[in-house]
């Protein structure tokens, strides 16, 4: 299969779940079509129960479509070989608590047919990537939520997949851990790995995704390139550093004279609460380490 085939191709997916007798089946996904090209980062967003996870499960063959088709790099999702090049991190994953981080990666690596030195090297590489080298011999049962997500991401990457599917990768993780996972997604993107993620954290989706789909009550209500979707076409942003009040007044007057243009707002741009939190905790950490030195 050539690289030109889509990494993900979901065509008119419908998924009904049986409920109790005599009642209508519950339609979790209703005629959803998604096409993700190799190297793309696609974000599927929607409220709880909108069908995001069911769509991902159908793509992985964990549920069978009522109608429609799902394919990964051209291979039917219901066939086992479609999973050769996929890594999956489910929402709130729990791995085997009796295994250490390293044993966990060894287990998943062996399931993918990797053995010997190649497996050892890959495990070490991934432990380094997700910054769990120091905790590699600790039992998973003692891992924090953020560490669990990171080891989950590492297991998803064990067989060097070309597609990574992440279901709420930052759910329940603190802002620092969340930022680390976001950075990992950026690294995957740099390596040309296709990422299909769903999340509630819209700001993160906005930061990492090229394309976004909005799903609501099982139906895809909006889809497209992120920049196109969120750009306000009739407005232009101008950010000026060290501007004196006179200069700001002069710019405002200039706009006023134009007749057609209208000044919507002036003021100081704000940072996000997340950036503020990260900056403050980093500064605190640095000052504590300086005192220790």
């Amino acid at each position: 299969m050539t690289d030109s085939s889509p990494a993900v191709e979901i065509r008119h997916l419908v998924k009904d779940f049986k409920t109790s007798f005599k009642r209508q089946p519950l339609r979790a996904v209703d005629d959803v079509s998604i096409r993700i090209m190799p190297g793309e980062v696609y974000g599927l967003i929607g409220p709880n129960g909108s069908g995001k996870s069911t769509t991902m499960k159908a793509l992985l063959g964990l549920v069978a479509p009522t109608s429609g088709e799902c394919a990964i790099f051209g291979k039917d999702s219901l066939k086992v070989d479609s999973r050769d090049e996929v890594g999956f991190l489910p929402e709130n994953p729990y791995f085997y608590k009796h295994l250490s981080g390293e044993e966990t990666l060894n287990f998943y690596g062996k399931l993918c047919g990797i053995r010997g030195t190649k497996l050892r090297d890959r495990v070490n590489e991934l432990l380094k990537l997700v910054d769990l080298e120091d905790a590699s011999h600790r039992r998973i049962g003692g891992y924090s939520k953020g560490m669990l997500q990171r080891i989950g991401l590492a297991q998803a990457l064990i067989q060097e997949p070309r597609l990574v599917i992440l279901d709420e990768p930052t759910a329940g993780v603190d802002p620092v851990g969340s930022r680390e996972i976001r950075d990992l997604i950026f690294k995957l993107k740099e390596q040309g790995i296709t990422v299909f993620l769903c999340s509630h954290l819209l700001e993160q989706v906005q930061e990492v995704c090229d394309t976004v789909g909005i799903i609501f009550r099982g139906r895809m209500i909006k889809e497209g390139n992120l920049d196109d979707l969120i750009a306000i076409e009739d407005q232009t942003e101008l950010v000026v550093k060290d501007a004196s009040p006179e200069l700001v007044a002069e710019i405002a007057a200039l706009i006023g004279r134009d007749g057609a243009a209208e000044l919507v707002r002036t003021g100081k741009p704000r940072t996000t609460l997340e950036r503020l939190f990260l900056r403050e905790t980093r500064d605190q950490k640095n000052s504590e380490s300086n005192i220790l030195k």
Partner: protein
Amino acid sequence: MNPLLMINAFTAHLGRISVIARHAFTQLVRMKVFYFLAFFAIILIGSNFFNLPQHEGPEAAGVNILRSIKSWSLGAMTLFSVVLSIVATALLLPKDVEDRTLYTILAKPVPRIDYLAGKLLGVLLLIFVSLLVMDLLMTGILQVRTNMVLSKQMAMAEARGWSVSDIAGLKADILAQGPTFSLQGAVLAVFLRATVIASMSLLISTFSSSTLFTTIVSFLIYFCGHFQADARAIYLSSEVGTDVGWVSQAIALLVSLILPDFQLFNVIDSVIEGQLMPLVIFGKLILVGLFYFSFYLIASWFVFAKKEF
């Protein structure tokens, strides 16, 4: 299909099954299942001190102790293997679904039959290793005890001036109560019975939603399995024109087709009594074990292949 590709595919299946089986084994070991072995050792040591009332003549003195060791050991082995085969098998699948670890496994290129076979073989590996350790302990203690009984009885026979042939007969009787190949066959029968029960529990756990349900139903079926021969007899007799109702006939047919005849394994009791296990029975038990292992595994696969998570 190219034979080389077929061999590669088969090797890949075996590789994955082996990884999952070893993992299931490790998982159960780390659940501290082997603590049962300490319990077994206590039972085994305790069985040495059970002095049952002696009704036979002095030539049978000490033989009861040998029977007691075998009876308690094989009883403990049966208890351990039956409980573990049901509980461990009932636990592993729902736990993976509940913890969502199953998602991460099935999202890898792992066919569902490999997952099921791996889990089942992991449980069986644990039972096999446990029985092996218990067997070694039992055989060791039985050997020591047999030697003690033998030297005591030989001294008694010589003191009473028994003939050489009588002494040889007494010796043979005592040795038959010691560690024999039939005894090893009985231990293997315990393992084969556990294989059938674990395979049956696997099938139940593929469509049940809880460990408790699987455990209860498996124990019930194990119990009903002891009446399989009776059910078969009822069905066969109804065919030749008796007044057995069609409901009873259908139930009897169902029970005799689906359930294994666990009474076959009662051959263990005669081994405890010191009798030989005929090779035919031994071969029959192996075939029954393999048949039900394959039958239940394939049936589990049919159910599990369609299952959604």
